[in-house]
Symmetry: C2
Subunit: 140 residues, 2 copies
């Protein structure tokens, strides 16, 4: 699994750098869950996590990875970027499943003003997505 986890990295870097949302979807497990910076409860399901991640990587400017750690199928990836005038530092804690797809992603960011700026931009778009989904009904 260690080899798989290291081989996951170049593809992941490319997806984030190019904001490749189709490839992002492919790398998420069906039952992926995500722990977000603002809330304790995890977001569950491929569609939801894919949509939120897409908004986040579109919102953070100058997104670059820095220190990276790999232990078996678990990765810790430090990133930096900007939201508006706020410098931002964050970490992605990623758990891969047997097939090398993301089954859990925990994200933390600092400092508090950057998190607030990120929420301000991400929350309305996420709420619009959830409202659309709800309006479309259970088949939507």
């Amino acid at each position: 699994m260690t080899a798989d986890a290291r081989s996951f990295l170049p593809g992941w870097h490319r997806i984030v750098a190019e904001r490749d949302l189709d490839a992002l979807f492919e790398v998420l497990a069906d039952d992926v869950t995500m722990a977000t910076p603002p809330y304790w409860d995890r977001l569950a399901g491929r569609d939801l996590v894919h949509h939120l991640l897409g908004i986040i990587i579109e919102t953070i400017e100058g997104f670059t990875y820095h220190r990276e750690w790999v232990e078996a199928g678990e990765l810790a990836l430090e990133f930096r970027g900007r939201v508006g005038d706020c410098e931002l530092q964050g970490i992605d804690l990623i758990s891969l499943d047997e097939s090398g797809r993301i089954r859990a992603l925990d994200v933390m960011v600092r400092p508090a003003n950057a998190l607030a700026a990120l929420r301000e931009r991400v929350a309305p778009r996420m709420q619009a997505f959830l409202a659309e989904r709800a309006a479309a009904g259970p088949e939507g």
Copy 2:
């Protein structure tokens, strides 16, 4: 350095579990800096970082380390705990110097309500310490 970084862990775990503030001081480099969850600017200097870390490990209840990553002299340590009614998840990113002491520590926590609860408890004690130090003058 990899062997050193891994051998750093048992001592660090003991310091945090036993809240051993003397041993905590010994493991910090003179010019240690710390990136805290609320602010962008780093805190610099052994006394300041030692005092803040002491307050933080006294404030977080049920502090336990979970996933841990080591790459050369760089460590990423996931922790969990509680502040009041808030569950908290965090990460310590630690850089060791040549002598195996901490020269940089970056801390991120989630979710936002746990960070707010932590700040509420830590900030007044840290302000009191800074006021005392200022009153004692440059020799203090």
